[in-house]
Symmetry: C2
Subunit: 325 residues, 2 copies
């Protein structure tokens, strides 16, 4: 089983066919960065049309059992998530509404301060806000998973402690392997994993050691070391694949409507666009190479299966349903 | 089994307890008259809070099987509907979004011309619009039932013919029994029922012969005559009970934001508010009296059961799911 816990591509039949070619059974796709509620609903409508149009390649993912249905019919289950809480605006009632519409992950902040938590680019991190505590409880109640991928350290550690259900970092790597602002320090990974949470390893070049020149062996050794340090049950893949997107989209991700200036985020003025993928992971067709790479660094067949999809499957099965009353 | 295919009350624990006392297993409740999409979502959020708060009395109704679940646990299943297409605004994609959020009935117009069809108070009825044809097809696809209770005759007859699935008049009576503008002429009832559709008998005084002074016998004789004329399978109850509402709500229903003047609709300047219910049907506790009344006018036990809920149950079971591909 192969599950990718984060992609944000310029969706097309080509990409859905590549998912099939790569044997990808489920993908968590981002449907909002800075979108309001109404704009998020427009993105949901666009996905409804894709499910109609490409029904032979993809199916709507609501529960872990939809992954089984996808596997049994040779399709890929698509699960929705937000990289920012902007879709709920200032209205806690939208948490349940959006869960009903299929949202399964929501980041509490995206680089900047939000109404709920602090982003990883802010100079100060005062932790989870008053509304943040309320929204975490509501997310726990309905089965919307907390994702802290783009949040600051204190906010992440507090979220892991406040949340009564396990939280996630769907896409990032350890900071001591590649010291990017978005990668996570040991105490953050510890806080998330020791409460039953999950982290997905990112293949976005800015999160890799040596960026686009990162080797498969280096990536797989990093995975093996995390498993050794924190336990096999807490890791999967969250590739952060942003395939076929024009540079205008990376600008929307970074800038939204919060500034009139350009902010380069993880890029820079001389390299403002998406960096090239490493040659061993170009797109969905290359998940098999990671699987081979993990075996090559000495991981057992069971461990490789857990990382490639088994762990995320178990996590989805446990955390997408409303809390038992 | 007792099903009421239309109510719009000022919802409270008192009313939910009266539903239980009256043995009402399911109610189709109106959640929008003139509301925009966002305003409708706020109404859905208010219902989410009611399901949390009164979980011992009501459950969310999505499918006919939820009525069984309600019966088995001594609760009432609440199904959502709109009396106007305002919640979809000008966006056909909102049909599926709102069905996912639980909407099961939508009127194509409410008294006035809409983007889709003509209302029963307009002087001219040009029939179903271009967008109306598209939206009916989309409603058929996802399982959102067309309701023409407040629509004009030509629009209603055209909707019955254009729709590939049966349509409804959830709350009205025959015009030849009580000549209200909202009651339906024989050719309209014929068009709806001959295509497998359903009509719910209204207990709103303006739709009754002699209004608040209508007798139970007159109402039940009218039901028996409809059954004789159009067949037993096409009728149920749609009480149009508007319990405990302040007069400001009847004003919102009639006037919305479409005029700055007061429009009295079925009322008048000297009686602008809600008329008093007939003494034999005050509220949800009185469904048993209608059942008795129907037996008294000579209907068989099977016929009475069909009218009180069996027909709506069968209709819900067939028409709320997406069309088979």
């Amino acid at each position: 089983m192969r599950i990718d816990a984060l992609q944000y591509a310029n969706w097309s039949e080509k990409i859905f066919r590549q998912m099939r070619e790569g044997g990808v059974d489920a993908v968590h796709v981002t449907i909002a960065y800075h979108e309001t509620f109404r704009e998020t609903v427009l993105n949901l409508e666009a996905w409804n049309r894709r499910f109609e149009q490409y029904g032979d390649l993809i199916i709507r993912g609501r529960w872990a059992s939809d992954i089984d249905a996808a596997r049994n019919s040779g399709r890929t289950a698509i699960f929705f998530g937000f990289q920012n809480p902007s879709p709920i605006e200032d209205d806690i009632g939208l948490v349940e509404i959006l869960h009903t519409l299929g949202a399964r992950f929501m980041q509490l902040s995206y680089n900047n301060q939000s109404l709920l938590a602090t982003g990883c680019y802010e100079p100060e991190d005062p932790g989870i806000t008053r509304m943040g505590r309320e929204v975490i409880a509501e997310m726990n109640r309905v089965g919307l998973v907390v994702d802290m991928s783009h949040s600051a350290d204190r906010s992440t550690i507090e979220a892991a402690d406040i949340s009564t259900r396990p939280i996630t970092i769907t896409h990032a790597n350890p900071h001591d392997w590649a010291p990017a602002r978005r990668n996570k320090r040991a105490d953050v990974i510890r806080a998330v994993t020791q409460n039953g949470g999950m982290m997905g390893f990112s293949l976005y070049p800015h999160h890799l050691r040596d960026k686009s020149a990162c080797t498969l062996a280096s990536f797989c050794e990093m995975v093996a070391r995390c498993v050794e340090t924190y336990g096999i049950g807490h890791f999967g893949i969250g590739s952060d694949l942003c395939q076929d997107q024009p540079d205008s989209v990376v600008e929307w991700m970074r800038v939204g409507r919060w500034t009139k200036r350009i902010d380069y985020g993880e890029g820079s003025a001389d390299a403002p666009g998406f960096p090239p993928q490493p040659d061993w992971f170009r797109d969905n067709r290359d998940f098999g190479r990671i699987e081979e790479g993990l075996r090559t660094v000495g991981m057992s067949a069971d461990e490789v299966a857990a990382i490639m999809g088994g762990n995320w499957y178990r996590f989805f099965a446990k955390n997408f349903s409303p809390e038992a009353r």
